[in-house]
């Protein structure tokens, strides 16, 4: 009986009508005020924590099915990182929720003012397949902390993770306010047709445009977490071994390059390139052995579509001769070895789209400063990295390179720092989250100004006269002395 019902449920089409009923239900919960209470927020965050503590093996399993993700990567980047995020939210929530006092000026005296954070209402979170747990649940932590009801739509490209998320949320979370909708384009479109109070989308900039256009119909604010071609600039005179290891961790150590903050390509000087290449090869071998296709410490490519896409990048005539390391592929196992390409043409396919895989082109320039021009000539990336010991170069990098975030002498680590806003700019996204920024991005900051009934000045009201104009001028300027002078008739204004 139970299984029959389940099949029936699965066969039901999730169309606009179903979506609208869904949202209506959540709206009802939100209107009841349930999700606004501190108690509810804490209880949900704690349930989420419990879920991660109890079901980590299931999560690791799902990720192995979807991506063959190494257990350590799953445990650390998907589970541990989330737990840190929940912990900090639980610790800080009271503080975040406290209205912020604002100083008022003499012009509105007597008055008091504060800024009160309030939840937007019912929010939609659409997450990607590469970090299906982290990138689904990290925004959920922010949405819950801010007191919203929410619908999570995980990516259908990671099916095991998607169905596990739906199952776990059903088991652990308050279903009257937190729901998961599984599905692909049709379901997502049905969801996007609804009116949401905030939409958080993590993915690519093409779909982001569709999401934002859908949001525009209902004047819904959006948080868009996208990607881009994040460059790494290698200056000479650095501890090359350490730099290469850190670089490899950010690229292949993060889901085999299938991460939005992964280094996309390297820019270095012509003179330094051979040394850099040598060192990268050495460290890659230290990490993943002589036959990286067999390494258990690398994720596979998510599916055959992406495998074909990456193969196409490598088979491009302009590029195929430029492979200087790796290049091995196993179509059946969906595996591609860490691959280095030297001096690929800037107009090749691989240099015109986000790579999102284990391929790493190295571009060379005459002077290291030229690399900043290359970065600025493209669209703004989510992250830009620089390895250098040169103070001046660091400063120049910070001043001239625009990106979501910059990291000097490491890669990808800023993701784990909750005191820094995480988000892109222009092509790489809109808005930021993590830590308190997650709370802020899911909250409306309501200005509340309170006045007494005394302190009314007749100049505010008609009929208007020249004298009122004079007094008004000093009043708005907020100068106490000026006000007294004007009241006494000494003002020359």
């Amino acid at each position: 009986m139970g299984s029959e019902e389940e099949t029936k449920k699965k066969n039901e089409v999730f169309d606009a009508e179903a979506a609208s009923l869904f949202v209506k239900e959540l709206r009802g919960t939100f209107a009841s005020g349930k999700t606004k209470s501190y108690g509810w927020r804490v209880s949900q965050l704690k349930s989420l924590m419990k879920m991660l503590n109890e079901r980590e093996p299931d999560i690791v399993d799902a990720l192995r099915q979807d991506l063959d993700k190494p257990e350590l990567e799953s445990s650390i980047y998907e589970v541990a990182l989330l737990k840190t995020s929940i912990k900090s939210a639980l610790k800080e929530l009271k503080h975040w929720m406290t209205p912020e006092k604002a100083k008022t000026s003499i012009t509105t005296f007597p008055s008091s003012a504060e800024i009160v954070p309030e939840p937007f209402g019912v929010v939609l979170i659409i997450s990607p397949w590469n970090y299906p747990f982290l990138l689904s649940l990290d925004p959920v932590v922010g949405a819950i902390a801010a007191g919203n009801a929410l619908v999570l739509k995980p990516s259908e490209v990671a099916p095991a993770s998607s169905s596990l998320l739906a199952k776990l949320v059903g088991e652990y979370m308050d279903l009257s306010s937190i729901r998961v909708v599984e599905g692909a384009v049709a379901e997502t479109s049905a969801l996007l047709d609804q009116k949401w109070d905030k939409i958080c989308y993590t993915g690519n900039s093409r779909v982001a445009r569709i999401v934002m256009a859908a949001a525009a119909k209902h004047l819904t604010p959006v948080l868009l977490e996208l990607g881009g071609k994040s460059p790494v600039v290698f200056d000479s005179g650095i501890n090359l071994k350490v730099a290469c290891r850190r670089m490899i961790m950010g690229k292949w150590g993060c889901n085999n390059g299938q991460a939005c903050i992964s280094p996309d390509h390297i820019i270095t000087t012509k003179d330094y390139a051979p040394k850099l290449l040598e060192s990268l090869k050495n460290e890659l071998e230290n990490f993943y052995g002589k036959n990286p296709l067999e390494s258990k410490d690398l994720s596979r490519i998510v599916n055959s579509n992406h495998f074909a896409r990456l193969s196409k990048l490598l088979d491009d005539d302009k590029v195929s001769g430029k492979i200087v390391h790796g290049g091995e592929r196993d179509k059946n196992k969906l595996r591609i070895a860490p691959t280095l390409l030297l001096d690929v043409p800037r107009d090749s396919l691989i240099m015109s789209e986000e790579i999102f895989g284990p391929l790493l082109p190295i571009l060379t320039v005459d002077k290291i400063e030229d690399s900043f021009d290359i970065i600025n000539s493209g669209t703004k990336p989510l992250a830009a990295y620089l390895f250098t010991n040169n103070k001046k170069l660091k400063q120049q990098f910070v001043e001239t390179v625009s990106a979501g975030g910059l990291v000097i002498n490491d890669t990808a680590v800023h993701l784990a720092v909750h005191s820094l806003p995480f988000g892109g700019v222009q092509e790489s996204g809109m808005g930021a989250y993590h830590g308190k920024f997650s709370f802020d991005v899911f909250s409306h900051k309501k200005a509340v100004l309170s006045r007494g009934f005394i302190g009314d000045v007749p100049v505010r009201y008609p009929p208007y006269t020249k004298g009122k104009l004079r007094l008004l001028k000093v009043l708005i300027s907020g100068s106490l002395l000026g006000i007294i002078r004007a009241l006494l008739g000494w003002s020359k204004a």
Partner: protein
């Protein structure tokens, strides 16, 4: 038409080039431009008075209070705070990353488009401009074509005072607007109606351009039954001040309607009538202290709202319309039907419906069953009721016991939520609205943590678990071999 498009593209190309040159990023440039803006306002007070009088019949006192004075104050405030706003903000990082430093640097978006509205044509053009300049952007300003004189004043005067390579004005109607929206901007700041706001955001989506939308909505004034006659008097003055005395109701933060208990309605209406008389005389049409309706289109729109027979029956004061002078007298309605257009659309004119309730507590539900307004005004001395309103309603902002004064507070964010807008500005929030906050993390090559790297094993797993938990004590034990 093609020529106009070419002109826009040329202007945009120059703005881009100027931004790329980096000049607008310097503190000196930003400060100079803000100073020049103050100078512009000081030198041209009379011209502005005249332009607003022509466009809207605005009295100079109102013009000073709501436009010139406010903008001068904002520009001065921005000048005094700019160094502080621009300073990178240091962030603490977990010990795990030691030695490292973190900071957040504000950088300009690039070339921004500001589309302003006709009701406060100077204020709503220049207030966002201050933010855009303070943040170091180059700007295309598109004033509303409905305030004709102000639009041409801005187009003529801004190039005389501000850096014309970095700040440009384009005038025109809907077609020019459409052409502007086809271009790629790095930020769009729009003030106007939700309908156009939605169009602007759709256009922005094509280029992934962030938007700030300053819209409107039906801002209610909750009026609790006050016991002190003095308080009631002040309340009525402030409500009239927030309705008719600011562009004659053509203001996004103006009072749209009043919610009051039945038993209090009669007293309120009497007092409203006498105060309106005191402010505007026996014959408000002759008063110089009240603005006219912007144009025939809006005059007709308002006339139609009143024409509904059930609405016409609800008129308890005023109702005089003078088409020739585009004047509508301050008009009060008592309990018009809630499904009439006057109660479903933003009024944006000198008509003030009073809706009576059995109990003032019902006002919260009344407001919540409608789109979120830009502002909720509430006049009450009841602290419990205040708390209920703060937590039980949602709006851009919430003002107790006064109207419109929130614009004077640079420290408060100004902006809507839901139907009333996206994003916020004023003071530091203007600077933030036009800045990208870039996260920067710096590490050194010392202190390499070996367990970060593959090949993976159990020890590395344990190590990283503790590390991400920032559990330094157990981490030490693990490293010393004292923990399994």
């Amino acid at each position: 038409m093609a020529a106009a498009m070419g002109e826009i593209e040329d202007k945009l190309a120059e703005l881009r080039q100027t931004f790329r040159s980096g000049i607008t990023k310097s503190v000196a440039w930003r400060k100079n431009q803000l100073r020049a803006l103050i100078e512009l306002l000081q030198d041209n007070e009379d011209k502005i008075f005249k332009a607003l009088h022509q466009d809207l019949g605005k009295h100079p006192v109102e013009t000073y209070r709501d436009e010139i004075g406010l903008i001068k104050k904002s520009a001065k405030y921005a000048l005094s705070c700019l160094d502080k706003w621009m300073a990178p903000k240091k962030r603490r990082l977990p010990l795990l990353f030691f030695p490292a430093s973190g900071e957040v640097v504000s950088e300009p978006f690039g070339v921004v488009l500001i589309c302003s509205a006709w009701n406060f044509p100077i204020n709503l053009a220049l207030e966002p401009l201050i933010g855009a300049i303070a943040a170091g952007n180059t700007v295309m300003l598109k004033p509303s074509e409905l305030a004709v004189e102000c639009a041409s004043f801005l187009a003529e005067t801004i190039p005389l005072y501000l850096d014309c390579k970095a700040i440009k004005v384009t005038n025109g109607g809907v077609d020019v607007c459409e052409q502007l929206l086809q271009q790629k901007w790095n930020k769009i700041f729009f003030t106007g109606s939700p309908r156009v706001g939605s169009i602007v955001m759709s256009a922005a989506a094509k280029h992934l351009t962030p938007v700030t939308l300053e819209l409107g909505g039906k801002c209610p004034a909750i009026l609790d039954t006050l016991s002190s006659p003095l308080d009631i008097k002040v309340t009525v003055k402030r409500i009239i001040g927030g309705k008719f005395a600011s562009c004659n109701g053509q203001v996004c933060i103006g009072v749209d309607y009043i919610l009051v208990e039945k038993k209090f309605a009669a007293t309120l209406i009497e007092l409203l009538k006498t105060t309106i008389k005191k402010f505007y005389g026996e014959n408000p049409k002759d008063s110089k202290s009240i603005s006219r309706i912007i144009n025939e289109y809006h005059f007709e729109r308002l006339r139609k709202l009143l024409e509904d027979p059930l609405v016409a029956d609800a008129i308890v004061h005023g109702g005089l319309l003078d088409k020739e002078n585009l004047f509508i007298e301050p008009t009060i309605l008592l309990d018009p039907p809630l499904d009439a257009e006057i109660m479903t659309e933003e009024i944006f004119g000198p008509i003030l419906p009073i809706i009576t309730l059995n109990n003032i507590q019902e006002s919260i539900e009344f407001i919540n069953s409608r789109p979120k307004p830009l502002v909720i005004y509430a006049f009450t001395k009841d602290e419990t009721f205040k708390k209920q309103i703060v937590s039980g309603t949602s709006s851009g902002s919430l003002i107790f016991n006064d109207t419109l004064v929130q614009q004077l507070c640079d420290v408060l964010p100004f902006g809507g939520v839901g139907q009333s807008g996206i994003g916020r500005y004023h003071g530091h929030y203007s600077f933030e609205t036009f800045s990208h906050e870039k996260a920067i993390m710096q590490r050194s090559f010392f202190l390499e943590l070996e367990p970060r790297y593959p090949p993976w094993n159990d020890f590395k797993m344990k190590f990283l678990r503790l590390a991400y938990d920032f559990d330094y004590f157990n981490l030490l034990l693990l490293l010393l071999g004292l923990k399994r």
